[in-house]
């Protein structure tokens, strides 16, 4: 990486891992957001974890950033999820049981869903990949969509979020429409696992393009039953500076995305 941030709050104690592989492309800005939030961050290649999954024990936060891992040519996140199944996934579950946090952004969310870590209603993902309960499918528009959205946190279950909180940040994806059975969707709504929804500017129900992919119930992100795993399609790491917001020249300061990372760091440190 070519640059280091100008000023960083330094706390060397809390370690976070950003897991990357071929085609990961939001790693640098995700590292930066975590560092801004006070974590000490390592970029870790998936293949080194496949060889030595026990490395995960070093980290209290594990982040799967955005990108097009291996090109997403079969479907988004598939190859990564398959590579992770045998050795990395069991270790990740042990870390979760141990109180670690897991965050998946965009392609990372797609990977977590594919791997069965989200919504994970019964913790049953296995090495043959049979634990998948939901799916992120092609946007209704049929196109890649890059635009800013307004998110509302609709759960008090997730350690990454505060219920009622509004976060504006961009989406940039082709496959972001959250699909699952009617029954499971109802269950997730009830248990507070539908963690984030797209809203209109006035806070009302979001139609396209406020809901950029056509997800039912405007689902933008979900959490697991413990609230310690979060996956979302939008990119909070792309709104961590005042000048990130599209209306900053109109007086609306950016930076709201940073809270996802600062809340994660303080939760992982045991402050909350």
């Amino acid at each position: 990486m070519t640059g280091k941030a100008a000023t960083l709050p330094k706390t060397a104690t809390l370690k976070a891992a950003v897991v990357r592989t071929a085609g990961t492309n939001c790693d640098a800005e995700t590292v930066y957001a975590l560092e801004r939030a006070g974590a000490a961050v390592d970029m870790v290649h998936l293949h080194s974890l496949m060889r030595a999954p026990e490395k995960l024990a070093d980290y209290r936060i594990v982040v799967f950033p955005g990108g097009f891992t291996y090109g997403d040519d079969i479907a988004s996140g598939v190859v990564f999820a398959v590579e992770m199944r045998e050795r990395v996934l069991p270790e990740l579950r042990r870390r979760l049981a141990d109180g670690a946090l897991v965050l998946g952004i965009c392609n990372g969310f797609q990977i977590l869903v594919r791997a069965g870590l989200l919504p994970d209603t019964d913790g049953r993902s296995n090495a043959a990949g049979l634990g998948q309960e939901a799916s992120l499918q092609t946007n209704v528009s049929g196109r890649f969509e890059c635009r800013w959205v307004r998110l509302e946190a609709t759960t008090d279950r997730s350690v990454f979020l505060e219920k009622g909180q509004i976060i504006e940040c961009p989406v940039a994806h082709m496959e972001g429409r959250f699909v699952t059975s009617e029954e499971l969707r109802g269950q997730l709504a009830e248990t507070g696992q539908l963690a984030l929804r797209y809203t209109a500017a006035d806070g009302g129900e979001a139609a396209y393009p406020d809901n950029p992919n056509g997800s039912r119930l405007a689902v933008a992100g979900i959490c697991d039953p413990t609230g310690r795993v979060l996956g979302l399609m939008p990119h909070p790491e792309r709104n961590v500076e005042t000048w990130h917001h599209p209306h900053w020249t109109r007086g609306t300061a950016g930076g709201a995305g940073l809270s996802v990372f600062t809340r994660a760091v303080s939760a992982a440190r045991g402050d909350r």
């Binding site: 070519t2 492309n25 800005e29 040519d73 799916s135 528009s141 890649f144 429409r177 020249t249």
Partner: protein
């Protein structure tokens, strides 16, 4: 490769019944449009994989369950059709299947194999197939195939089959048996030389062939085929720029003059004369580099990929962006790309099918393919595509233009490079295949009706993830100081890369070491293949092991091809036998120079034929509009211009590009309350957490080039710098790039216009103090249909990039608050030549806008100072459609109204011919495209300070921002002349390229 005990199986996947499938929906729309009378009722999309494995059927079943199919949303089956599609086939649905031709890159295949391996499923090959199950009232297989050919497949790279059955067998290329080939040249007469050049697709002229013959006569031996191929690649117009770097004798406008080297004496010369301290590397590397901060430089390159995009738009455009990204990776010892730009020129997307010449794809299809190609490559690379433009003219029908640019960041101590004798020649990245053979020579010839057939081999398909891996590995190797030089494999493949890097040393290459995608390549093909995603590095022998380890960690293949030598010769071996041995000096300096004739006579320019209705400037603003361009009011004409292809919103394109990735986006391509206002320039910060940024913009107006190429060039520079100024960057710190796309410059008038354009660039750059640091040309953009030739308009793209110390001082073009004053800065003249008013009215004539650099300089400097001082709330340039379009865009982007009095606009009677009605001036004030003008919004409290900053520069308050959400203008006589709801203006602007409008 097929093994004796392997079998084949077809694994098929489709979206479950009742769930939405946007891919099928899109195919349905396309087929319905292509088959209006067939009564198409439904289209189902089936993704199929031909699996080659020891126990293929079992492997396919497991692969579907564990890898290929999504259990939540997809149905799947082995052999038979999955889910609902089986029943549809039973009841007579038709099937059309599309798969890549053998040897054409399909990135999906390698990711499938990787996933299968990770899941522990043994398989030796995977081929992906797209299948469409079509139900229709009146349709047969032939009609379906014909329609699919037009909208679902491209037979240049794909094979199309009909029928529910699918023959699984694939053609595997025959193995290659080495044979050293010599070409009998020494005794050949001129006719034979021409025939050899043609037969081998060398694109060398007889004069050049004579030089080759003379060399080998002197050597006393015949050349090998690969020696001829190497000379053809190195001497190609694409690599050598024989025309623009050549001798030119010009007659015509401004008198007779001679250039020994046109580019060196115009564009390069200015850069030398300006000698700006912040220029770190100019015209010597893959991209020009200027200073960013004390530790970093910033570099930019813009390339064209026109010919491949005409034949196969998706692959052509994708590899266009892939190629220019590699240019940045290959600048110095490697730069990190952080921004992509794209500018496309097409014929109108609504062109009547019967007007599309034989051998051309429909412009709408080219547009979709090109946009998809740039999207899929740029987005996967994780580089924001955040700046660009679209320009339409029907003369681009046979030669669409695809300009792709990349901006990168490089440590200042990594800018210099030089391969040293003894260094190892290391190739990294993709394997070599038969793709893109003769791309460099192909790009230097005219296209014709037969090109689609002849040049399929010149089309490359990209694999962006391969390139992303190369990027990741390269930057690590660079930062560890392991490289002495690096360059990309572009046109000409290894031959160009090694030939350039070893020009001063010499090189020995063992061609049989290059890893191949498949068997059957000859040593010549390996040497000149333009297979994508490859870089060549020079590495000291003791450091190769470390580079190899880095590459292994990133899953990048590395090969030691040979060594750089010290004898100044290029020597090639295949299986130990020497197949080429030539001095680098002959390769690089042996091409005979030709003096070319150029001529340009200024065309007669008639006065602008003002439509009668527009000269009645007292005409009521609310006059009855009859809609479209037939409307007679200024408002109707404003809306017509906003709806014209060049001006209208490109949001549909921009939002398909990830313009936010890397988290550096400070000024976005779309601005305003609803994110639908066009920004002037993009600003991005390459270092996380550091508010130092780079502004990027461009200027281009081919409509001026037919009339006055010199002024066109000046205008392009002015526009690029105006856009840079409008966001708050300092235009005096900008650097420029030139990209010429022209017709056949062996015709003297085409070359004449390029001479004038080069002189325009020279004069503008000198006057503005902005050096050119890189450039590229694409000539021969003419299309032959029978005896008719369609030449593109002379198309000069000027790109500007500029360091911004603190992006938090930047501004956007949307009006901010009611009550603020609106200023016009700079002089408007009656210069309607090439204007968009003329375009929408269908008339020609009028003076071509004249750039007065001293005026523009003063305007830009003063506005920049005002923005730096925080005195400007919004700023927008006046370009296509003039002041009228600028005010409209600022108003609807800000969701506010504006009222202005045209009488206040600083005006000078420019070229208005005598006898023209003075009444024309309302329209001229509104729609003239005079350069050097900016519109600024200023708070009343800042007005004095703003005016002080602008002292000595023509400027005036023309009106105020208000809450009325209307654009309201009074004319010279004080009457209202325009009164439009901003929502009507917004609709006019967004409608033409909105969703669904251009399927």
């Amino acid at each position: 490769m097929p093994t004796t005990n392997s079998s084949l199986a077809l694994a098929q996947v489709t979206v479950k019944h009742g769930l939405r499938d946007p891919i099928a929906a899109h195919a349905f729309d396309l087929l319905r449009a292509a088959l209006p009378d067939a009564g198409v009722r439904s289209v189902q999309f089936v993704k199929a994989f031909v699996l080659e494995a020891p126990e293929a059927a079992d492997a396919a079943a497991r692969a579907l369950r564990e890898v290929f199919a999504d259990p939540v949303s997809q149905a799947c089956s082995v052999g038979s059709f999955p889910g609902e599609t089986a029943a549809q086939i039973e009841s007579g649905a038709l099937v059309v299947s599309v798969t890549r031709l053998p040897g054409v890159m399909d990135p999906a295949e390698s990711s499938c194999l990787r996933a299968l391996a990770a899941a522990g499923i043994e398989a030796s090959g995977v081929r992906a197939v797209r299948r469409y199950v079509v139900t229709a009232d009146r349709l047969d297989e032939d009609a379906l195939a014909a329609a699919a050919r037009d909208c679902l497949a491209n037979e240049v790279i794909e094979e199309l089959r009909t029928g529910a059955a699918f023959d699984l067998r694939a053609v595997h290329p025959a193995p290659y048996h080495f044979e050293r080939i010599e070409v009998a040249l020494r005794e050949a007469d001129d006719a034979t030389l021409a025939k050899i050049s043609g037969d081998m697709c060398l694109s060398l002229t007889v004069l050049e062939m004579q030089a080759v013959r003379a060399y080998f006569q002197k050597e006393g031996r015949e050349p090998t085929d690969v020696e001829l191929e190497t000379l053809a690649q190195t001497w190609s117009e694409h690599c050598k720029h024989k025309t623009l770097g050549g001798e030119v004798h010009f007659t015509g406008v401004g008198g007779e003059r001679r250039y020994d080297n046109l580019l060196k004496e115009t564009v390069f010369q200015v850069t030398q004369d300006l000698d700006r301290e912040d220029c770190l590397s100019v015209f010597v590397d893959n991209a020009g580099v200027i200073a960013f901060d004390d530790e970093h430089g910033v570099c930019m390159k813009v390339e064209t990929h026109n010919h491949p995009s005409a034949i196969e738009p998706y692959g052509g455009a994708g590899t266009g962006i892939g190629g220019v990204i590699r240019d940045i990776l290959g600048t110095g010892l490697g730069a990190k790309p952080f921004l992509n730009t794209d500018v496309f020129c097409f014929a109108a997307p609504d062109m009547a099918p019967e007007d599309v010449p034989n051998g051309c794809l429909h412009p709408r299809r080219i547009m979709h393919g090109v946009i998809d190609g740039v999207r899929d490559y740029g987005n996967r690379m994780g580089i924001p595509t955040a700046s660009g433009g679209l320009f339409f003219d029907d003369r681009y029908v046979g030669n669409p233009l695809v300009y792709c640019g990349t901006v990168g960041l490089i440590p200042r101590n990594m800018v210099e490079k030089a391969a040293r004798p003894g260094d190892v020649i290391v190739a990294i990245g993709g394997r070599t295949g038969r793709d893109g053979i003769h791309g460099a020579t192909f790009s230097s010839v005219e296209l014709s009706e037969d090109s689609e057939m002849l040049s399929a081999g010149a089309v490359q398909i990209g694999n962006p993830i391969e390139e992303k891996r190369v990027l990741d590995a390269l930057l690590v190797a660079r930062d560890e100081g392991l490289l002495t030089a690096v360059t990309d494999c572009g046109a000409g493949g290894f031959s160009s890369a090694v030939g350039e890097m070893g020009e001063l040393t010499g090189a020995v290459v063992h061609l049989d070491r290059a890893p191949l995608k498949y068997d059957g390549l000859t040593y010549s093909e390996i040497w000149i293949s333009e297979a994508q995603e490859r870089m060549v590095m020079s590495v000291a022998p003791e450091k190769v092991a470390r580079v190899r380890a880095i590459c292994e960690a990133e899953d990048v293949e590395l090969t030691e091809l040979g060594t750089f030598s010290d004898d100044g010769r290029l020597v090639l071996y295949y299986q130990g036998e020497k197949v080429a041995d030539m001095p680098m000096s002959f390769l690089h300096d042996g091409v005979p120079r030709v003096a070319r004739e150029a001529v340009w006579h200024a065309p007669e320019i008639a006065p602008f034929p003002w439509p009668e209705a527009l000269t009645e400037s007292s005409g009521a603003a609310s006059g009855a509009a009859s809609g479209g361009t037939s409307g007679t009011t200024l408002g109707d004409n404003l809306k017509a211009i906003l709806s014209s292809w060049n001006v209208c919103s490109k949001e549909w394109v921009i939002r398909q590009y990830d313009h936010e990735v890397q988290g550096g986006s400070a000024i976005k391509p779309l601005v305003g309350v609803q994110g639908d206002g066009p920004g002037d320039a993009t600003v991005a910060c390459p270092i996380p957490g550091n508010p130092r940024g780079v502004a990027v913009a461009c200027g281009m107006n081919p409509r001026l080039g037919d009339h006055d190429p010199y002024r066109m060039a000046m205008n392009a520079v002015d526009e690029a710098l105006r856009n840079i100024t409008a966001v708050g960057a300092d235009p005096r710190r900008a650097a420029l790039l030139d990209n010429f796309s022209w017709g056949n410059t062996s015709k003297p008038d085409r070359l004449g216009s390029i001479v004038l354009a080069s002189e325009g660039l020279r004069d503008a750059a000198l006057a503005y103090g902005t050096p050119f640091v890189s450039g590229k040309d694409s000539l021969n953009n003419e299309f032959q249909v029978g005896d008719r030739t369609i030449a593109i308009p002379p198309t000069l793209l000027v790109s500007a990039f500029c360091v911004v110390d603190d992006v938090r001082r930047c501004v956007t073009s949307d009006f901010k608050e009611s009550g603020n004053r609106v200023y016009v800065v700079g002089v408007t003249r009656d210069q309607m030549g090439g204007s968009h008013l003329g375009l929408v009215r269908g008339v020609e004539g009028g003076e071509v806008p004249v750039v007065v650099p001293e005026e523009s300089n003063a305007v830009f400097a003063a506005v920049h100072q005002a923005i730096e001082g925080g005195l400007v709330r919004a700023c927008h340039d006046c370009s296509e459609g003039g002041l009228g379009v600028a005010l409209a865009e600022m108003a609807f982007a800000g969701c506010v109204g504006v009222s202005a009095a045209l009488v206040q606009v600083p005006f000078e009677d420019g070229g208005a011919a005598e006898g023209e009605s003075n009444g024309a001036c309302d329209a001229a004030l509104l729609f003239s495209e005079s350069p050097g003008r900016l519109v600024c919004e200023v708070r009343p409290a800042d007005a004095d300070a703003f005016e002080a900053a602008l002292s000595g520069v023509p400027h005036a308050t023309v009106g105020t921002v208000n809450d009325a959400r209307r654009v309201t203008l009074t004319g010279l006589r004080g009457h209202p002349v325009l009164d439009e709801d901003i929502e009507d203006l917004r609709a006019a602007f967004t409608r033409p390229l909105a969703e669904g409008a251009v399927r």
